[in-house]
Amino acid sequence: MAILGRACLIIALGLALYGAGASIYGARARKQAWVESGRRAVYAMFGVVAIAFVILIAAFIRSDFSFGVVVDHSSTTTPLFYRATAAWSSQEGSLLLWVFLLSAWSSLILFVLARKGKLREVAPYATAVLCGLGGFFLFCSIFLANPFGTLANPPLEGAGLNPLLRYPSMMIHPPALYSGYTLFTVPFAFGIGALVSGRLDASWITSTRRFALAAWFFLGLGILLGARWSYSELGWGGYWAWDPVENASLMPWLVGTAFLHSAMIQEKRGMLKVWNVSLVLAAGVLAVLGTFLVRSGILDSIHAFGASTLGVPFIVLIAVMALGSIGLVIWRRASLRSEHRLDSLFSREAIFLLNNLVLVGLCFVVFWGTFFPLISEAITGDKAAVGPPWFDRYTVPLALILVLLSGIGPVIAWRRATVSKLARYLAIPLAVGIAVPLLCLALGVGHHLEALLMFGIGAFSLTVVAQEFVRGAGARRAMTGDAPPAALLALVRRNRRRYGGYVVHAGMAVLFIGVAASSTFHNQRDARLSPGQTTKVGGYDVRYVKPTFSVADDHRNTGAIISLGAVLDVSKNGKHVTTLNPSRGYYPDLSQGPVSRFYQGESTSEVGLQAGLRRDLWTAIQPDTTQIDRLAAEADRKFPNATPQLSLFIAGTLAAGYARKPPPATFRVIDSPLVTWIWLGGLIVVAGALIALWPAGLRARRRAPAGYGARVARELGRA
């Protein structure tokens, strides 16, 4: 099967090259048959890559150890769900996933456009760009990171999936991120196509907008899932560390957010053409840059794939994409002139522009901080790095401005706003925005200025969104006499993009309030405790009641054979609050002695968590296994040929001994407010993006009669 898989990749590379050549030739020679042939080559590429992808997944599921990549990243003891998804934990498999998703999205956009007969002049060049990108990743897969490499003497067992990755959302996180990255290449390709063909009106933006939104959605979802995994699985209690790989996914997302806003200005007013096309091209380049950061190991990161041969080809690709994009924009600058000027700094266009500048500024901060080790090495000869405090210094004020703008944007008028009208719309939100921090101060929440500002601005933004829904539904009710829920539903259905966007704004406000509260007002303690001892965190007393252990009881279905943990009793002012059960799972390492293997392999934290709307109580344990390790090594010497059953029995006995006479264990306990708001806010953002993405029904798409529009406008004015 490996030969078939590799053959598929080679055929796909041929199809990519043919697709690019046929599309360009067809466009230049005005031969539609060649253009269509190029498009069909993309469909064929998708089909062939899909076969290769299925072969690889099947090899993982069957634990076919003739595949080198299966040996390195899976094992027979890895649970089925994780075997099926282990393919993309490897460099080789993740590259194949990239090209699989790229070819899928490419086929989808080309199919949709061909059916609608849209962008006939732009599409061939975009097809060539998509084929070029597909060809690059196929080249890497075939010659530099081959997922179908085979072993002459397959072993009976593989290394297994990294236990840290055995977490359900971690298996969805990479496809979500990669969907985001690859979807961003679609507007990139059509931006290039528009520049080359000279068709620079807003039609290419309108036709690819849904793909840009989907890219933004998937990338955001991937970032959120990664943060959740970090919080629940990594044993440090945080959700964001400004790690280069986290930053790599954030940069295109920020630029994509800017584009989704500024695209509206081009569609409505024919302005910001250079800016929009630059944002789209930048998002495409940053998407590939993100992939490069993970693949090359060029920056020190917890995630980076080191010792890779992919660095140079990626640098060449990024240089070609960036320089080509800049060259094309300069070449077409005359055609990219705005059709209108900014009428007033007091208008929705100006707010959107400011929002764009903040987002791009944020992206620049993240870019500079991420690449600072390389920049400093180039300038001073010494590699140096900046830490989270440096990032926070710039990102916190920019985030405050961003949330504030997300509140003003929906209510300020296009072209030129009046102070009186804006004041009328913003009176209640402003009152709420001032009242909330004052209330926080009165309740003794704390005196942290930035957090209080975020609470106030977040409340302001949330009130604006609520007010917009109330006004809109009120106007609808006045027109149709619908009941309030029906009026609200009809309002959203008639303008999914607008109200989906408002829901996203509300979600972001909730998320930022959660980030501000949890990062500012959390209490943390690292304590070494023996059973019976207590530590204080915030207002809570956390008592180590007793140790726990389990042997061959893998209730989380992750493959951990032994688990050592603790029962922690949490109380406040003498009253029981909750019981937490943090533990640590140990995964066997078959290269060790028959007993040591149960303790000397990987081990991961299983967090004890009491999550709530007001606060989370988070705990992790590091058991001291010094005594177990010593006894296990002794047992290895005494029973070098122990059967698996005897080995497990001895390892279990050692775990029971640990529980009988437990040494002090190290605990990390965190009392953190409003963490749940982050996940809740993320879910609201996801819901809003889905509303905006959902195709409008025929009735909603039908243009409302002019009279109806006028009546709605009148009612909105009164509401």
Partner: protein, 133 residues
């Protein structure tokens, strides 16, 4: 005022603000950064009180607990030159002997004291040598 003159003034103000902000960003990144050093570079000339980002591998047989502190040695990736590190704070799950680590340290006497919670251990499965032929 003439609209084109007004636009030019706006552009100059915006560009000046952008340049000032970028300068602040660049200046603070250099002043707030810590140099990345290997153990042999730190052995050759680490200044007491200055922060460094130490990168290397955890030396075999060097890891032990001293109360709430974790004591270990970090060695060069290519040879066995190593420096002692005393660290308190969160220990990442993948931390163990032989693994690649990054930790912010300051020299105090003959020991390098790790900054709390700064220890990063690279994810082991991600840089496994290619197995396939």
């Amino acid at each position: 005022m003439d609209p084109s003159r007004k636009r030019k003034i706006r552009l100059v103000v915006a560009l000046t603000a952008a340049v000032l902000l970028a300068s602040a960003l660049i200046y603070t990144s250099f002043s707030a950064s810590s140099e990345a050093k290997s153990p042999s570079q730190l052995m050759a000339g680490a200044q007491p009180g200055q922060s460094y980002q130490l990168t290397g591998k955890v030396a075999n047989g060097s890891v032990r607990h001293e109360g709430s502190a974790l004591v270990f040695r970090v060695r060069d990736r290519t040879d066995n030159t190593s420096v002692p590190v005393r660290y308190t704070g969160e220990v990442p799950d993948p931390f163990r002997e032989g693994r690649e680590v990054i930790v912010d340290v300051q020299k105090q006497g003959s020991v390098f004291v790790g900054q709390k919670d700064s220890l990063v251990t690279k994810c082991p499965s991600k840089f496994k040598a290619a197995h396939s032929s």
